[in-house]
């Protein structure tokens, strides 16, 4: 069993004195784990930083084995972001969320392409909104997509002002009535606009915590995500 593909390094776990078990996300194979011999060495440790784009070759005798990676750096992303508080928080949040929620060895080519574009664009103008869109895409790929195109009660596409915290569907102001206090606000940022990034992250955060994390054995969502949301909300 072997394959070779370019992918994003999501996580590095020390293994023994000099080895590392890494998780790589590729378009064709999804999230794959494997051992890198000498992964903690002086030569490889700078290469194996989360977010790095790697040319990875995985090999194992049987497909169910952990397997071994040999990796070549394609480009580092962390090096340029170490001094950038929000950029580094973004890189951590993206890689930690992918590592947290992607099932092993299931391909998500569209999410991969979107993740690579987002990682490459960290720090660019409008990056916060791109990150919000990426969280929506992540929720959708994991089966918790938000339907914000029409009112869940009336079917109207006008005056949409809320999101149901249970179903993730939009609700219009008139249909919300006395339930408005129990619904999440629907900001412009979730409807293609630019205003309300913080409110948008609150909505996606609600479903990341309450639906996605809950479906994964109620494990706590990586703290990096909320750290980034806090930083973006202050901008």
């Amino acid at each position: 069993m072997e394959w070779r593909e370019e992918g994003v390094l999501l996580a590095v776990h020390p293994h023994g004195e000099s080895g590392a078990i890494i998780e790589v996300f590729t378009a064709g194979t999804g999230r794959y784990a494997g051992l890198v011999r000498g992964g903690a060495s002086r030569r490889l440790a700078p290469v194996l930083q989360p977010g790095a784009q790697l040319d990875a070759a995985w090999r194992a005798r049987l497909s169910e084995h952990l397997g071994q990676f040999t990796v070549e750096p394609v480009r580092s992303r962390a090096g340029a972001l170490l001094g950038d508080r929000i950029g580094l928080a973004g890189l951590s949040a993206i890689t930690a969320l992918l590592s947290f929620c992607l099932p092993e060895r299931v391909a998500y080519p569209a999410l991969y392409a979107r993740s690579v574009a987002l990682l490459d664009g960290i720090g660019a103008e409008g990056w916060g909104l791109a990150y919000l869109g990426w969280e929506r895409a992540l929720l959708e790929e994991m089966g918790f997509g938000l339907d914000l195109t029409r009112c869940a009660v009336t079917g109207s596409t006008e005056d949409l002002a809320f999101v149901s915290p249970r179903t993730g569907r939009a609700v219009s102001r008139s249909a919300a009535g006395e339930w408005a206090g129990r619904l999440l606000p629907l900001p412009e940022s979730l409807r293609g606009g630019e205003a309300g990034l913080a409110e948008g992250l609150q909505v996606t955060g609600h479903f990341l915590h309450g639906a996605l994390a809950a479906s994964l054995g109620d494990r706590p969502l990586p703290a990096a995500r909320d750290r980034l949301a806090t930083l973006l909300s202050r901008v």
Binding site: P46, V47, R77, G79, A80, L82, L88, P222
Partner: protein, 198 residues
């Protein structure tokens, strides 16, 4: 099994040490047995003494033989500077350089997105108290140039905003004796960003 049960037990214990496996542990034990008087007995005595006396410094987290380590107890060291390091090995590395004469703070790790290590798991709240109590004027963040290390550095810098202490960090870039051709692109990128007037 070639030796006695006691020797085998010693080999098994030695094999758990970093850098040693069963074969190298066997060689080390045979070497120690061959030099019982000069090496094995003094080593056993030294290990026993350290095991009995070693403790964490209640101020900085360094290792010492009393509640306050030698660095914190040294009145000739500057009190206004606190150098924050990840672990004791980093503190010892800085001390080997003889370039810093202030005091230290050992975090005991870094924030980790995946391993759910938060600020309370590290010595960060204690560091913030120290900065206020000791009236520190500068906090030097000597943390690893990794994603987790610098995430921790940013977190501490943010937590120290308004404390009155200036926050600095170690430079990142080309190591002494390093050739550009052999450096990874992340290091070169960091070095370019941190360039200075020459």
């Amino acid at each position: 099994m070639a030796g006695t049960d006691e020797i085998e037990a010693l080999i098994e214990m030695m094999a758990r040490l970093p850098g040693l496996g069963p074969r190298s542990a066997r060689r080390a034990v045979l070497h120690l047995i061959g030099k019982r008087g000069q090496l094995m007995t003094p080593l056993a005595r030294a290990m026993g003494q350290v095991a009995e006396t070693v403790r964490d410094c209640t101020i900085c987290g360094n290792l010492g033989s009393s509640d306050i380590c030698a660095i914190c107890a040294d009145e000739e060291r500057r009190t206004g500077q606190i150098c924050v390091v990840e672990d004791v090995a980093d503190l010892w590395a800085l001390e080997r350089g003889h370039a810093f004469r202030g005091r230290y703070h050992v975090l005991g790790g870094t924030l980790s997105a995946l391993d759910a290590v938060g600020p309370e798991d590290l010595g960060i709240p204690r560091l913030l108290d120290r900065v206020t109590d000791e009236g520190a004027t500068e906090v030097i963040l000597a943390l690893a140039a990794t994603v987790d290390g610098q995430t921790t550095a940013h977190y501490i810098a943010e937590a120290l905003e308004g404390s009155g202490a200036s926050v600095t960090s170690l430079a990142q870039g080309v190591p002494v004796g390093g050739e550009l051709d052999y450096l990874d692109d992340g290091t070169i990128s960091a070095a370019l960003k941190a360039r200075k007037a020459f």
